[in-house]
C-alpha cells in the first residue's frame, strides 16, 4: 500500500521531460515521502522482484511521446511491474521483431534520443522506487560516450543497463565503467549459449540474468518453447541471481508458465503493441495488460 503513495501520479513534476541531463540534476534527490533510504547501498539494488513471479516491463521510450512514456511507466509500476526496461530507439534494431521496430521508428520520428531517455528516467525516478534499466543497442551509447553515459545514468537514478548487441567478450571496459558508478550490468543468455558462456554471462550480470526464451527476435509467440525452462535450469548451475525470461510472453498462461521455473517474466512486445493499438489511452491499456498477466484484472479497473 505504501507503494501506491510513492507512485502517486498527483506528485508535482518539477522538470520538463525534455530536460537534458545536466549538473543541476545532481541535486534532484528523490522525494522519499516515507522511510526508504535516499542513498542506495551496495547490494541493496532496486533490481529486485517484490512479486512472485516478478514482472519486468519493456517499452520503447518516446513512443508515442516522452510524456506518454512517463505515464505508461508509472501506470505499469502501479499495476505491479517490478522493473522497467527503458528502451532506447535505434534505427537498426536487428534483435527486434516488427512490433518494436515500428515503435522505434515512431519514437525516432519524434526525435527521441538516449539523452531524452535518461531525462525521462530521472523524472520517473522522482516518482517511484521500481528498478530502472536502460535497454539499448550499442551505437547510441558509444556515440553518447561510455563514461558520460555511466555518469548520466547514475545521476538519473538508473539501476543498470542491458546492451542488446554487446556480448561479454566486448564488454570489459563497459563493465568496469558501469561498476565504478555502481550500475548493474545485465546480459542476455540464449538457448544456444554453451555452459561455458553461461558461466561467464552469469558472472558478468548483476541484479538478474535475462534469459532469452528461444532463438529469434522479440515478439509475441503462441507458446513458450521448452528451450526456456532448460536454459533457466542451466543458468542456475552458475548463479544465485534471479533469472528473468523474456521474448514472446504475451498472455497469462505464458506468464504463469514462466513463473513456474523462472523468477520473473519480461514482457516487451505485448506492451509495445498495447501502446500502438490504444492511442490516447496507452497507460490504461498497459496497466490492464499487466493486471491481466498477473491475474488481477478486477483491480486494474480502479487504478486509473
Amino acid at each position: 500500500m505504501s507503494k501506491e503513495k510513492r507512485i502517486s501520479l498527483a506528485s508535482p513534476i518539477t522538470r520538463s521531460p525534455d530536460h537534458p541531463i545536466t549538473g543541476s540534476q545532481t541535486a534532484m534527490a528523490r522525494d522519499h515521502g516515507d522511510s526508504h533510504p535516499i542513498t542506495r547501498l551496495k547490494g541493496d539494488s532496486r533490481l529486485r522482484f517484490r512479486h512472485q513471479p516478478g514482472l519486468v516491463a519493456y517499452l520503447t521510450c518516446g513512443d508515442p511521446s516522452i510524456a506518454a512514456s512517463r505515464e505508461i511507466i508509472l501506470s505499469a509500476v502501479r499495476a505491479g511491474a517490478d522493473v522497467i526496461e527503458l528502451g532506447v530507439p535505434f534505427s537498426d534494431p536487428v534483435a527486434d521483431g516488427p512490433v518494436i521496430q515500428r515503435a522505434s521508428e515512431r519514437a525516432l520520428k519524434k526525435g527521441t534520443s538516449l539523452q531524452d531517455v535518461l531525462a525521462l528516467a530521472a523524472d520517473v525516478r522522482n516518482q517511484t522506487d521500481a528498478g530502472l534499466i536502460i535497454f539499448s543497442y550499442m551505437n547510441p551509447v558509444l556515440r553518447f560516450g561510455l563514461e558520460r553515459f555511466c555518469v548520466a545514468a547514475a545521476r538519473a537514478g538508473v539501476d543498470g543497463a542491458l546492451i542488446t548487441d554487446l556480448t561479454i567478450e566486448e564488454a570489459d571496459e563497459y563493465r568496469a565503467r558501469m561498476a565504478a558508478h555502481e550500475l548493474s550490468t545485465i546480459f542476455l543468455a540464449a538457448p544456444t549459449s554453451s555452459d561455458q558462456r553461461l558461466k561467464r554471462i552469469a558472472q558478468a550480470c548483476q541484479g538478474f540474468v535475462y534469459a532469452v526464451s528461444r532463438t529469434g527476435v522479440t515478439g509475441a509467440r503462441q507458446e513458450i518453447a521448452a528451450d526456456a525452462a532448460a536454459l533457466v535450469k542451466r543458468i542456475r548451475k552458475f548463479t544465485k541471481l534471479p533469472v528473468g525470461v523474456g521474448f514472446g510472453i504475451s498472455n497469462r498462461e505464458q506468464f504463469l508458465q514462466v513463473g513456474g521455473f523462472a523468477d520473473a517474466a519480461v514482457v516487451g512486445s505485448a506492451i509495445v503493441q498495447a501502446i500502438e493499438q490504444n492511442p490516447g489511452r496507452e497507460a490504461k491499456a498497459v496497466a490492464d495488460l499487466i493486471s491481466t498477466l498477473k491475474g488481477q484484472a478486477d483491480k486494474a479497473g480502479g487504478s486509473m
Partner: protein, 399 residues
C-alpha cells in the same frame, strides 16, 4: 570520439576495429563458424576443392588486361584492368560464395540466407546454392529490387526465394538487418552467407581470405607483364570485399599505393553519399566496430549512391584500420563521375563496367594523367555493367 576509440581489443580486431557486436543467440554460431573455418583453411582437401571450383566453375584466373587506349588517352601511367567482371555471375562475389558454400556443407547446414544490394551477391549466392543443392533465401531492399529488377529475376530463375525488405531506406543495410533477424531465428539450421568484409568476426577475415585470390593473381600477372610491382592499385569500396581482395597481397609492399574509392553520391551532405571516411565516425553497426555514417545521437544515417552495391553506411573494419594507419588512401567519386567513367571505358576499351567498379575507373581517370609514364596502375573491375543498363539508360539519354 575519445571514448569510442578506447574499446578494448578482442577477437577479430583490425587495430581498434572489428570485433563481435551481436545478440547472444548468434554467438554460438559465430564461434562454430570461426572454429570450422580455422580447420578448413588448414585442410588441403578443402583448399583443393575451393581452387578447383574457382578455376572450373567460376572461370579463374581472370585476365589482367593492359588498357592501351585508355592509357594513351590519359597520357600518364600505364593502366591495367583486373577483369573480375569476366567471372561466372559477372562479379568477384562468386569467390566468397564458393568458399562459404563449401564451409556450409562442412557444417551440415542445408539452408543458406544472404543479403544483397545490387543483386550481384544475391545472384552469386543463388548460383552456389543451386550448385550445392541448398535452400536459398535472399533479402533485398524493396528500393534495390526496383533498381535491379534483372538480378531479382536471375535469382528466382536460379531457384532462390527473394524476400523484399520494406523497412528503413529499403536498401542494403535494411536487407542485412532482415537477414540477421532470420539468422537469429533459424541459427541452428541456417548459414548466413554474408557478402562482404562486414559483420561480426570471423566474417571480415574469412571473406577477405576467399577474395585474396584476386591480389595473388594480380601480383603474379603484373610482375610477368611489367617486371615490377604497380605504383598504385585502385578499387571501389562498398563493404570493401573486392578492394581488400586485391589489396591484401600488396599490404607489405609499402611502395604500392592502395586507393579505395567510396561513393560520393550527389553531394557531400549527410544522406546524399556513402563516403564513410568523409562524413563518418567510429561506431557499431551490424556486428562490427568501424567507420559509420551516423547522426549526433548515434542513429545510422541514410545513404545514397547511384550504385546499389556501394550504398551502405559502414565499411569493412580492416579498411578502417588501413585508413587510420595511412596504409591505404580513401577517396570518393560522385554519381556523375562514375557515370562518365562507365561510358568512357565502354567507348574506349569496349568494356562496360558495373557502376560500382566505375567509381574506381573514375579515380583512375583523375589520377593517371598526373602520374609518370613509367608508373603502373591496376584498376579492379570488380563487376560487369549488364545489371546496370536500366539505370544507365535512365541517366544517360543515349539515342
Amino acid at each position: 570520439m575519445g571514448s569510442t576509440a578506447k574499446l578494448k581489443p578482442a577477437a577479430g580486431r583490425f587495430g581498434a576495429y572489428g570485433g563481435r557486436y551481436v545478440p547472444e543467440t548468434l554467438m554460438a554460431a559465430l564461434e562454430e563458424l570461426e572454429r570450422q573455418y580455422g580447420k578448413a583453411r588448414r585442410d588441403k582437401r578443402f583448399r583443393a576443392e575451393f581452387e578447383r571450383l574457382l578455376k572450373e566453375y567460376a572461370g579463374r584466373p581472370t585476365p589482367l588486361f593492359f588498357a592501351r587506349r585508355l592509357t594513351e588517352k590519359l597520357g600518364g601511367a600505364r593502366i591495367y584492368l583486373k577483369r573480375e567482371d569476366l567471372l561466372h555471375t559477372g562479379a568477384h562475389k562468386i569467390n566468397n560464395c564458393i568458399g562459404q558454400a563449401l564451409l556450409a556443407r562442412r557444417m551440415g547446414k542445408q539452408r543458406i540466407i544472404a543479403e544483397t544490394g545490387a543483386g550481384q551477391h544475391g545472384v552469386a549466392t543463388a548460383t552456389v546454392c543451386a550448385l550445392f543443392g541448398f535452400d536459398c533465401v535472399v533479402y533485398m531492399g524493396a528500393e534495390d529490387m526496383r533498381r535491379q529488377e534483372l538480378n531479382v529475376f536471375r535469382m528466382r530463375l536460379l531457384g532462390a526465394e527473394v524476400r523484399g525488405v520494406d523497412s528503413g531506406s529499403k536498401t542494403l543495410k535494411d536487407a542485412i538487418n532482415e537477414a540477421m533477424r532470420d539468422w537469429v531465428t533459424n541459427v541452428r539450421t541456417t548459414h548466413y552467407l554474408l557478402g562482404s568484409v562486414l559483420g561480426a568476426h570471423p566474417y571480415p577475415t574469412m571473406v577477405r581470405d576467399f577474395h585474396s585470390v584476386i591480389g595473388r593473381e594480380a601480383r603474379a600477372q603484373i610482375l610477368n607483364a611489367e617486371d615490377k610491382l604497380p605504383t598504385a592499385i585502385i578499387a571501389c569500396v562498398g563493404g570493401g570485399s573486392n578492394a581488400i581482395g586485391i589489396f591484401h597481397q600488396f599490404i607489405n609492399d609499402r611502395r604500392v599505393k592502395l586507393i579505395g574509392v567510396e561513393a560520393g553520391g550527389r553531394s557531400e551532405k549527410l544522406g546524399d553519399h556513402a563516403a564513410r571516411f568523409r562524413g563518418g565516425s567510429p561506431g557499431v553497426l551490424q556486428g562490427t566496430f568501424s567507420y559509420v555514417l551516423q547522426d549526433s545521437a548515434g542513429q545510422i544515417a541514410t545513404t545514397h549512391s547511384i550504385s546499389a552495391g556501394l550504398d551502405y553506411p559502414s565499411i569493412g573494419p580492416e579498411h578502417a584500420a588501413l585508413a587510420d594507419s595511412g596504409r591505404a588512401e580513401y577517396v570518393a567519386a560522385s554519381d556523375e563521375e562514375a557515370l562518365e567513367a562507365c561510358v568512357t571505358l565502354a567507348r574506349i576499351e569496349g568494356i562496360i563496367p558495373a557502376l560500382e567498379s566505375s567509381h574506381a575507373v573514375a579515380e583512375c581517370i583523375k589520377r593517371a594523367p598526373r602520374m609518370k609514364k613509367s608508373d603502373v596502375v591496376i584498376v579492379n573491375i570488380s563487376g560487369r555493367g549488364d545489371k546496370d543498363v536500366g539505370i544507365l539508360r535512365e541517366s544517360l539519354h543515349i539515342g
